[in-house]
């Protein structure tokens, strides 16, 4: 399964995590996550994912974008990630990921987003 395929399972992964939904209850935002070359557009409302659109969307506006390479997401989502690949900021520090746009909603809900973006790790643990 490609990293993008794993990320595409995000709606089921999030809906199965009631605690993460609870922690995101103050958050409503549209943002973008690029898994390698493939963009995903996330619509989050009160902590729940109301839409996850995979692939390019012309002129879609989002508050911020998180991009990382296929390798970065693959290693980040290992069942036990290696040092330097285990955290979003470990990825940005090594230049394997970037944060762009209005970062305020990201920083206001940083643990929520870190945990959201780590959810595909569950498929590695179950494998």
């Amino acid at each position: 399964m490609s990293p993008a395929d794993r990320f595409a399972a995000l709606p089921e992964l999030l809906s199965g995590d009631s605690d993460l939904c609870r922690r995101g209850r103050w958050l409503s935002v549209d943002c973008r996550v690029d898994v390698g070359a493939e963009p995903f557009f996330l619509s989050i409302h009160d902590g729940a994912l109301t839409a996850l659109d995979r692939g390019p969307r012309l002129m879609r506006s989002t508050a911020f974008t998180i991009r990382a390479t296929d390798e970065a997401w693959t290693r980040h989502w290992a069942a036990m990630p290696e040092p330097g690949w285990h955290d979003l900021f470990a990825l940005t520090k090594r230049g394997a990921a970037s944060l762009e746009g209005d970062l305020r909603p990201l920083l206001q809900n940083l643990q929520y987003f870190k945990d959201l973006l780590a959810l595909p790790r569950q498929s590695a643990k179950g494998a």
């Binding site: 990630p81 040092p83 955290d87 979003l88 900021f89 940005t92 920083l107 206001q108 643990q111």
Partner: protein, 280 residues
């Protein structure tokens, strides 16, 4: 049934730091060689509670962990409301020496983590003869910044939550969840702007590159220990620093991050007991 009491006792000591009166909170346990413990930026002495409760350590060491001014239960100085808090190499060094003097400690061992580790390097550079040994956890002479500290203190972002969320990635994924979340809880409780003020020392004022070459480990032994999951002070940062200091002992701790004593006390114990055995 008798109350189940932890062995450490907390008290306040009055002292002056650079001529300014302070009331510092500390906890202590044990007897023997004084071992002064320095918490990380934006945190407090509770990070050392497992060390303070370890009879294997407290039978040989009088462990004292104090809260820096502005941190934990140490009050900020009178008039704090009129300025922005900023820790500097000078003020941090003065606070440690003032605490040791006020407690009448004779040649203590000092162990510090993160900013506490960095300042331990400065103690080794400038005041080595005052100490029996120095232990720097997660320390290097310089580290590459990995985020913009202006996010740490602003009205539209919860300071406690953003501080904890930022540093959460510095905890090793193997660390027990209960200790991970206790470490984060402490980060959620810092005063406004205090973590940011501590990082002024880390980022702006405390660059010790070149200066570490002056460290003489024959005057005072120096130990460096860094967790492999620490991407703020990476193992390479520590090893690069160690290469400049003849006689230093350095160790990379497996499955440990930036907060060894609080994120995984049992694992940290395996690494720190042999160091303390050498010192005693």
């Amino acid at each position: 049934m008798a109350p189940k009491l932890d062995p450490m006792v907390g008290r306040y000591v009055r002292t002056e730091i650079d001529g300014v009166p302070h009331r510092l909170y500390f906890e202590e346990a044990g007897q023997g060689i004084p071992l002064v413990c320095l918490h990380t930026a934006g945190a407090d002495n509770r990070q050392y509670r497992h060390l303070l409760a370890d009879p294997e350590i407290t039978r040989r060491f009088r462990v004292l962990a104090f809260d820096l001014p502005w941190h934990g239960k140490s009050t900020p100085p009178d008039g704090w409301e009129r300025g922005e808090y900023r820790l500097t190499t000078e003020s941090y060094t003065a606070a440690i020496r003032a605490f040791c003097r006020a407690m009448e400690l004779e040649k203590p061992v000092v162990m510090g983590c993160s900013i506490g580790g960095r300042i331990v390097l400065n103690l080794a550079i400038a005041h080595a003869a005052e100490f029996r040994a120095l232990i720097a956890l997660e320390a290097a002479d310089f580290q590459q910044p990995w985020y913009d500290t202006s996010w740490l203190h602003r009205p539209d972002v919860h300071g406690g939550e953003v501080c904890a969320a930022l540093i959460s990635g510095l905890i090793a994924p193997q660390s027990p969840p209960v200790h991970r979340h206790e470490t984060l809880w402490m980060y959620m409780q810092g005063g406004p702007g205090v973590f940011k003020g501590d990082l002024y020392f880390y980022r702006v004022d405390g660059d010790l590159r070149e200066k570490v070459k002056a460290i003489d480990t024959k005057v005072c032994p120096l130990y460096l220990l860094t967790g492999e999951y620490d991407f703020s002070c990476t193992p390479d940062d520590t090893l690069l620093t160690a290469r400049q200091i003849p006689g230093v002992e350095v160790q990379i701790m497996k499955e440990v991050g930036h907060f060894p004593m609080s994120e995984n006390p049992a694992r940290f114990r395996e690494y720190i007991l042999p160091v303390l055995a050498k010192i005693s």
